[in-house]
Subunit: 462 residues, 2 copies
Amino acid sequence: MDDRIQQYLAAQRDRHLEEMKEWLSIPSISALSEHKEDVRRAAQWAAEALQKAGIENVRVMPTKGHPVVYGEWLKAEGKPTVLIYGHYDVQPVDPLALWKTPPFEPDIREGKIFARGASDDKGQTFMHIKALEAILHTTGSLPLNFKFCIEGEEEIGSPNLDEFVEQNKELLAADVLVISDTPLLDRGKPAICTGLRGLCGLQIDVKGANSDLHSGLYGGAVQNPIHALVQILDSMRNEDGQITIEGFYDRVVPVSEEEREQYRALGYDEQKLKDELGVPEFFGEKGYSLLERTWTRPTLEINGIYGGFQGEGIKTVLPSEAHAKITCRLVPDQDPDEIIALIRNHIERHTPPGVTVTTQLFDRGKPFATPIDHPVIQAAARAYESVYRAPVAFTRMGGSIPVVATFDSVLNVPIVLMGFGLPNENFHAPNEHFHLENFDKGLLTLCTYWFELERTLAANAG
Amino acid sequence: MDDRIQQYLAAQRDRHLEEMKEWLSIPSISALSEHKEDVRRAAQWAAEALQKAGIENVRVMPTKGHPVVYGEWLKAEGKPTVLIYGHYDVQPVDPLALWKTPPFEPDIREGKIFARGASDDKGQTFMHIKALEAILHTTGSLPLNFKFCIEGEEEIGSPNLDEFVEQNKELLAADVLVISDTPLLDRGKPAICTGLRGLCGLQIDVKGANSDLHSGLYGGAVQNPIHALVQILDSMRNEDGQITIEGFYDRVVPVSEEEREQYRALGYDEQKLKDELGVPEFFGEKGYSLLERTWTRPTLEINGIYGGFQGEGIKTVLPSEAHAKITCRLVPDQDPDEIIALIRNHIERHTPPGVTVTTQLFDRGKPFATPIDHPVIQAAARAYESVYRAPVAFTRMGGSIPVVATFDSVLNVPIVLMGFGLPNENFHAPNEHFHLENFDKGLLTLCTYWFELERTLAANAG
């Protein structure tokens, strides 16, 4: 890689960080309708940033929900094309009281930038824009052709991206898809993610009497919707942490002994994580290690529950309704639609008398896995290693990027998940942040990768 | 009873209702600290109303919490003394959206007055004041001596009344205690309540990791506090509606076959109640009728639950905490302190790994039961029957008036629970109301009772 690129990045660092702060200041929370206009502003900001970097044909493309930002640079004649996917939407910020500085007033302290979206995923998407800006500005060209697809609905499960990708198959056609939305293994330890869990989720709504009742007058005779909900939810998991939805594990591909050995070799520091999270002990499916549980096993989690009196003190009420939100993380070859059907069957079979239960469907995403020895993966590993001076770990990830499965099936390209966040940077939680050390190293890694990838693809083509 | 009393009540009806509306307009919600000043205003209003009615030595007496309003009329020389207990505090009003007219803007329509506190218990306490006003105004005297004790913490379990009664034993000394805070059996069917369930309650707080986590990254490896809470709560009740807290039923006095027969004879219309409440079917402890379940059997109800994401849509979070509020209704001879200890033991034994659980104690009240054939009860029955022209049902009630047990043990007087509300008047729920038919008949019944009671006690003394 040309030395001038590194010099350019160093010289422009302050300006780049100021620009990134600007983007992070826009509260683009896709889940909340009152932020719709902010989400649109964040899309507009991304479009302008792409243009300033030298990306061409930039468009903010409407969908049924929040728009997709597209841009391209296709002047590397005869060279392969890279599609870069990122997202400009962010998670909600509650509980707001736990943020040390406001989520949309980015604050740099102790070598980190704190803001909602700092690592997930505005920060990392921003790096992709700036890496190409640096190469273009210093060399006047790029080693490969590039396309950007930056969406605004990742945090709500990308409900409209499937259709968008399907309808814009030609526009998005590429030879490699690169996504930076996954974490490093640890500080100074790069990782390429070769597997993602899928996702499906639903809300369970339990309805009893037509209004809240006095628990003294009716308690003991009228089914309590919270009790009913608790009973339904408790029937879904046993004391060994296994999900007891009938058929839930039927399609799970067992992890090979070889893969388990590889994970053990990573020497993951469970004690350190335990201290960081402040949990007395870990808890999960019996017979699996922590990494196996989060990377290779499916889960069912209750993300939220509410019903009855939640205020200060006590109210002796027998509430008329209760609600829970649950999501499952899925692994190959589980199918989200099938799992949803199994859950609904289970709920039906476990609904106690005296209440009616309905469900609302949320997003769905298929699980994904890619071979470690693919040349585009190996080229990414070499780029990381040249910058971080440390071996790359091939990991999986417990999270879901629903669109990965879509790209996988619609565009049929190899997918490289190379991210720069750290696992404890509070994605989805208060005080989300991003280490600037990985902002700097990440930019260099990306620039290095594009040249390395060009050579690798040329060699493989030849 | 003197005809002039009835004429006076008819003539003053409009003014009385206007005055009642004034009192109902004060949002004296004892559970919410922001309403502290409103609670004080409601106490002051009661004091002034007593004075206007001719009650003497009226005082607003401070406690550690909300004040008690005291007043007396002791000029019936040589006659027994009646202590009237009521409460001027009300339940919270959420969910506010379900009220057809605002809870603190009393509205009379279809022969009912709608407001929080209309029946529970400002409306009924107001009737006691007006009954004495009517007798005093028309006859210049009262047939018995009277004392009022109107408290402001009934809806939060009367935490300071025990101490108040203990410290003011002499001041409150009486021969009969009368409370109107219990419902009629049905429209036109008077009832005297001879048993109340006791109460104890606590909040369960479950804590996992020190902040909310991404359910993808940690789901399956870190205990989810909502799952843990659901597991703990579900372990407290089985599918037959029995409470499975070890030792919970040990001190329960079984209902006699005679008493069960008497309840069956009431011909309670279960279908009508089912329709009113809008439940598909009733649910409760196996082997007991609806009345037995609510009057004579103890319960454990979850009054509220909350944790994790409760907003619109989905948030794939593994929350750091979850909370529930539970209360038990107790029957003779269960002891609230002992039941709390049993629940805490149960929670300890059923807490799954990976979380810590703490509990916060709420109010407690002992269960109560009184003999049906007591002369003061029988006199009340005659008063009801002379006005309602219908036989009185001797019932129990599922609710709790914690102070009844205190009066029972500290003052050692017979207690008459004669109320005028209807079971479906939405105490503790949106659109609480009170039928004016029972406002009118109730006033006559009370006036009749005081003369009837004077005769009965004189006969018994002689």
